[in-house]
Symmetry: C3
Subunit: 680 residues, 3 copies
């Protein structure tokens, strides 16, 4: 557990006083106090001001900000300002500019614009971090360090090409090994020299974002690019650590961001933090999944909610304002899933450039009587009331949900079988069913300890490393229940299909193999006909997308397809393996099927929900610390609902009321309560 030295859940967010004259700073501080704000992220985009020329550093404005915060008892999250390089640097050292997917060298402009292989960037960015660390190493106003900002994107320049070749040499040692991994005999793409390796963009092997002709190359470049940016992060991390051994260092991740393998990143971060911007049409359970993912990549450790908008974004097609209560609900949703902070982007709305229409705690009117400010202030008061109890508390789960960037990348790199296969979407559908049932889920992946779980769910576990095979097999062998879907066990770590067919080395575990996989357009459906009543799972369900045509090798058929030439073929199977059980879902079923399946699995594996009989749209989670259990009830409905607490007895932490029996939750209302012993 990371200690930021705070006595309560930190509250605040991005503050950019460099955009304003000095008297506005003071107005801001007054309003922060009014809203209970105590943690300000500063210095996110100020490189040019800090380093107006190659030789000059100027930290005077930053000194002033820190002094002001200190004087007012607030803490700082100190960013390193390296997410957008200065214009002068681009003009003087063009190697810092990226080459894009279309093969075009960029000129100056935009943020996240630095090439991760650029010698210039790798020289100046860590040096800036180091200058900051040296200057502020004794500054106890700084609660944590924030390297760069939302690392994003891919570069395809010649420097990256060279670094990629070095990365490959390190990975494969010999060209023969590389040729084999990439199966280059196909289309005679055999490499005879390391210098023949190219970056995979529209000038080489990709004709579209999801259209490519050398899967192995693309997969490795994606890995390399993630590693390459991570190295940039690490250089800054080390530069800070060198001068501040106990600094808490993070960078703000972006949730389910496809381009970088955050599980690798988390290893180098002292605490995970992320920026949460759900679109208005996204199911709330998907947001919960991503919170759990952010918790999961650091093995359950609480994370920081580094950014959310107090009201509206500006970059979506239609930028809804958050409805009354929605910001509060989203904030507690984060905390309910393991967040130890509630932070916003941004404190004061900028007057010009790209994000001038992005919501802020203090908007263009500068007033404290706006709806948004009043909601922010009300939440601030609640967080003060809550105090330190929740900080560091963790979530226990008996269910593990497998999520692996490698499977994400490889399953969507493939040409075929269906353009509508979206890895994230499949994972999210399974997650949603557990969330709906009030079952807490840990998101796991390669390297996770699976021994503590009773149930492991691995939708579209397309790519298997040998360690994954071992882990999953042992899990079932030792009595665990495994549930997986079509496109599991398709390919090895280089995206070469396993000989013998899917699910590859897990064929024994599932007791079957996939003979064919049919792919149909969205309108075309089939059905799953249950062959037995599994308790919660009976009758007929719709399915679509992909349809495994399975051949059995020991598994029992629980359901079959209802139509087409494979009517009667298995659609759901169960196999006893070792002391455990493995289910295989051959197609993409409708929601009701997954809910039924979860219901059945709960009964079979004796999984306990946080709360039974949750109404639709209500989420329940439990955080625990030092023997105390904290229950969250989140009403995502825009209407009132009744929640039955059963035999539970709760102490509402927001108003000290005792709760039992049946509660009425107002629209978008939240209960944060401690479980107390029931008097018999």
């Amino acid at each position: 557990m990371i200690d930021l030295g705070m006595k309560k859940i930190p509250y605040g967010g991005d503050w950019n006083p460099e955009q304003w004259e000095r008297e506005i700073w003071d107005q801001d501080i007054e309003m922060f106090k009014e809203a209970g704000i105590d943690l300000l992220t500063i210095n996110v985009f100020a490189w040019t001001r800090l380093q107006p020329s190659e030789e000059t550093y100027d930290f005077s404005l930053l000194d002033e900000m820190l002094a002001l915060l200190k004087a007012n008892g607030m803490l700082a999250c100190m960013a390193t300002s390296t997410a957008a390089h200065p214009a002068w640097m681009a003009t003087k050292y063009p190697d810092i500019l990226r080459v894009d997917f279309q093969g075009r060298k960029r000129k100056y402009g935009d943020r996240h614009n630095s090439c991760p292989s650029s010698p210039t960037y790798r020289h100046f960015a860590p040096r800036l971090a180091e200058e900051l660390a040296k200057r502020y190493k004794d500054e106890d106003t700084i609660a944590l360090w924030h390297v760069s900002n939302e690392y994003t994107g891919i570069c395809y320049c010649e420097n990256c090409e060279k670094s990629f070749r070095a990365w490959l040499k390190n990975r494969y040692q010999t060209l023969d090994a590389l040729n084999q991994a990439w199966n280059t005999t196909f289309w005679s793409q055999t490499l005879t020299d390391w210098d023949e390796i190219v970056v995979p963009n529209q000038l080489t092997v990709q004709w579209a974002e999801r259209g490519m002709c050398q899967q192995g190359l693309v997969l490795d470049y994606t890995r390399f690019n993630s590693d390459n940016h991570l190295e940039c992060y690490t250089l800054e991390h080390e530069a800070i650590r060198k001068h501040i051994p106990d600094a808490v260092i993070t960078t703000n991740l972006m949730g389910a961001y496809k381009q970088y393998n955050y599980r690798d990143w988390a290893k180098k971060m002292d605490v995970v933090s992320w920026d949460c911007y759900p679109s208005p049409t996204q199911p709330y359970s998907h947001t919960s999944l991503i919170h759990d993912l952010m918790r999961g990549i650091k093995d359950g450790q609480p994370f920081l909610l580094m950014e959310q908008t107090p009201s509206q974004t500006n970059w979506q097609p239609y930028n809804w304002v958050k409805r009354p209560g929605q910001m509060r609900l989203g904030s507690y949703q984060a905390v309910a899933h393991g967040a130890d902070s509630v932070l916003f982007f941004q404190m004061r709305q900028s007057v010009g450039a790209c994000e001038k229409f992005h919501g802020a705690v203090i908007d263009h009117t500068g007033r404290n009587d706006t709806r948004v400010f009043r909601e922010v202030a009300a939440l601030g008061a609640e967080l003060q009331k809550l105090g330190p109890d929740l900080i560091g508390s963790t979530l226990d789960s008996e269910v593990a949900l497998w999520f692996d960037w490698d499977s994400w990348w490889a399953s969507e790199n493939s040409a075929g079988p269906s353009v509508d296969l979206h890895y994230m979407n499949q994972v999210s559908r399974y997650y949603s069913a557990f969330n709906r049932a009030g079952i807490q889920v840990d998101v796991v992946g390669p390297g996770s300890d699976l021994s503590k779980y009773r149930l492991l769910v691995t939708p579209v576990m397309y790519l298997l490393h040998p360690e994954d095979v071992e882990a999953v097999t042992s899990f079932v062998q030792n009595g665990g229940t495994l549930v997986s879907s079509f496109l599991t066990g398709v390919a090895d770590a280089s995206d070469r299909v396993f000989r013998g067919g899917a699910p590859g080395p897990l064929r024994e575990v599932f007791g079957l193999w996939s003979e064919e996989i049919d792919a149909l357009p969205p309108g075309q459906k089939n059905s799953i006909v249950m062959q037995a009543d599994l308790g919660g799972l009976s009758g007929t369900y719709e399915c679509n997308l992909l349809f495994d045509l399975l051949r059995l090798g020991g598994a029992e058929v629980l359901a079959t397809y209802g139509s087409d030439f494979y009517a009667g073929h298995p659609a759901l199977t169960r196999n006893l393996y070792g002391k455990g059980t493995a289910y295989y879902v051959a197609t993409s079923p409708e929601e009701a099927f997954l809910q039924g399946l979860v219901h059945h699995l709960c009964q079979e594996a004796h999984l306990k929900p946080v709360l039974e009989n949750l109404p639709t749209g209500v989420e329940a989670t439990r955080r625990s610390k030092g023997g105390r259990d904290f229950l969250f009830l989140l009403n995502h409905n825009a209407a009132e609902v009744e929640v039955n607490l059963g035999s539970r007895s709760l102490q509402n932490l927001l108003n000290d009321q005792h709760l039992s029996g049946t509660l009425t939750l107002k629209p978008r209302d939240v209960i944060v309560a401690e479980e107390v012993p029931v008097l018999a």
Copy 2:
């Protein structure tokens, strides 16, 4: 009033005899006579023929054309041929080639292909204009001069980048002023040297046509690009003027063309002319708006209809032929709104290349018995019958509609709040309601004299120059009625949001401020519930797109929202300010609301329509000259309608009939009549 020396409304259009052998020229002339054609635009695309090499000019063919026209009593509109440079020039001087939005240097091909900053273009184009002026300065066959053709597009080359920097130095004087205007502290994009300034394309700050990350830069580049092309026009204009002091010089504009600020252009043009190509699905009122815009940019002066197709275009997805009567209707629609000419593109259809399927007076058959030719000839006869009476007559209006390219650019540059915000669309919706009611409208903008109007309508008046604030405020102060909408008064001349929130410096005038603005997807609607019956405006109306959440500061609430969390919040307000009144429409209402609002405003401000109780689809306008009033009735319906003239008495100018009482207008028929005193 510009005098082209013609005794009637000029009739004709683009004629390209250089594409044909000599005997075709004679056939053309005979058919022109048959059709009453008397003005031919020549020399539009002939640069290579006029200047086959750097050293050689050859005007022999042009001499021949002019001689032929003179011999047949026809006049010429003399173009300068500079809208497409010769292939040899591109090969020899590549600086004349543009760089596109994607950053690619173009090679030879297409028209409108010259870089406006190119030293080569700026040398050769005005020189050609001057050579033409010198040669033909005494040629009285030339009625007017036509510089280049449909100036179009943007260039992003290094020469433009350099010119842009010079333009910025001139505008801002210091880098500090520039940094402040562009708010470059955001994302630390501060410039430390003028040479760090880049052109805004896909290699720098724009990731799509409407996606950009430095609004100030993009806005200024758009202004610069408009100015830069205008300079090219001006160079030619001056080259001609130097030799022909009394030449009437124009270039053909393209109506509501977003890229150039035509209000600036009009100042340099002796007469405005434009090319009218409405799509078949465009409401006719939108075409009327653009006619009024073309009249408005030159403060009400009549304009020339320089091009329209006699039948079909070739560049739309589906190129309908104009239905019988439609070409005539469209021609009179232009005249009804202030056009002093009826000209076509083109006289004879080309046999090859890009526009071979574009309609023409004489088509590929070369016959004079086609439907199209017969309609052209019939209209020619009518224009002869009409004679000179209408020429120079003007339209009087009590209603001014604000249209400003700066607001167009800035409101659509923004990231947020809604991608569906289209400035032109909002303006057009208000215009349509007035047009429907038979109310004549002047289109005004920055610098216009507002004192003569009773009503000023300013939809989405997003960007306010200080002079605009002054003008609008005085207008209301002095008793005028102002109507505006959401997104008014958002930003200053550099697209920096006004502190204190919208409507910025007009908050007092409207007696309110906007706390939030909600943006919803197309399907999601709200309603406007009238709180009082305003006469024509009562009950409930649909609205969508954007929803201002207003806070009142003196304004009266006339209507409220019907649903969502802001049900009951103001949706329509009225504020008394000085001697005047200011209405604010907080959302985008359905058509019926705007029609009701116009009805109410007419009553309140005692505005008189050209004709009361116009049937749907019938337009009425009035042009006046020397005490005479000319009434136009245009039936845009494909069916017959009855029009009640009330107490008016008219003399039909096309057939000398007297009109009174109730008229029957045939499908797509037109009445052009003089108002005559009613005998009591």
Copy 3:
């Protein structure tokens, strides 16, 4: 007739043992035997292995493959491996890399990646073919030679630009002739030097795939590009022929591939072969049309089905598996239309890279008990049973359908009249009506002998060479019946519109001319109202897309439009010309109209279907050889149908049963039978 030296229809396809270790080869051979496979296409993509460096050739693996085939009595189709150049070649000789439509020089990657003008490619590719021919000239295991693979695409590099200029000099001799052909006076694009000619891509005259501003240039570049790739083919063809005078040489075409004029290509090919990958939603009749096209470009000579998938593809959005029986049905459909082989891509599914999810005879499981393998083996047995009888047999037809790449290119190059005009689609609609009626059709084009046909159908015969005019005119003059549609006879060989209007030089033949052509959006329809009952054609039909407004010059009106301002104008006409008759269909009618028209034409021209009263979804064709007639009945329905043989008597070649009276065809079933004399 080409003799591949086989005693039965060859069966097999692409085999890539170079991707596998040696023991897999042996497994493959065993499974080939099990499936009756006897012809293997090898060496398609192996250039790098064959030539690992500039100086080295290594054929050892190929020797081994051939030895294995020989030992097992199988034959080889020997490819030349030149469809993807080695990586080392791209690195060393970048002239081999293409420049794309956007003007970007490509780097290494993908197949079909060589510039056809590249001196490097033109040196190394034929040299490799020659090395192969020299080495294997006496190898009787090689049944045929297969140059490169699926020639594809266009290059826009400077070498192509230079070759294009030379091609143009050869075609036009003088710049004057070129300027005239391209009508360059339009927009003053006159060329004054050959070096001013540019390739037509996005940097020059094309702003989109179907948007261009110099039709003549684009048309000629398309021709040049086809010729240029054909030259590459020819160089290899000649290199092989030089050493093996009797080699049978082909390359695999791609059916209705727009970029290359396959009619020209066929002249250089000893036998036409093609790759058949119908999308699941494509009407089966369209596939039949393409089979007939492939037969037609070689004047009726049987062709080879070089590739089809045994099950699913991987490159479509949704890659359905072929339903049981569908692969067999598609195989016989090819044979029914003239194929003399049944070959697959591919024998064994690759484990990695682009096509790892493309179906194969032996899939990733490597098993012989899969549904797909069992269907392949069953068909193998049938082909053995069929023996050699069908090989070399031909199809007789009384109906010719005109298909010309020039008309395809030019009609779709045009800006206007409608973006929905698709040449192929119009041709396919007419074809479908004949196919539905059981009428065999030959696809013909420029240079075809038309004298043997009674009916000639020429939909959208947009571009007319003088020889075409002569051929069509003579055809009608001599008693033939001609049917054509709108957009016939529009332009000459340079896409210059015929003066006098469409149908240009065929006006006399049709007895009419087109005054206008209306183009309406998809939703907007008109109707065709028959003025007489033509037998099968009566009443009213829907039509859309384009609407010729015709003026008569002798033709008789058979039907008129039902609505719009051209209601009552001719929609279908008939003209007697010489001894023949010419029909003109002025618009795009619904299917029922075309079926009625075909019915009427059959009666009028006494055309005999292969079988009368075919049920919907059943196709019938007849191949003949040496006085024997072979009948194919193909049930494309997923349901059983009854087929009435009338008085015919058949001998089923697949099971030796005698057939007469009414047959029941199972879902997707096929009858291959010989007609036998009926005993009276």
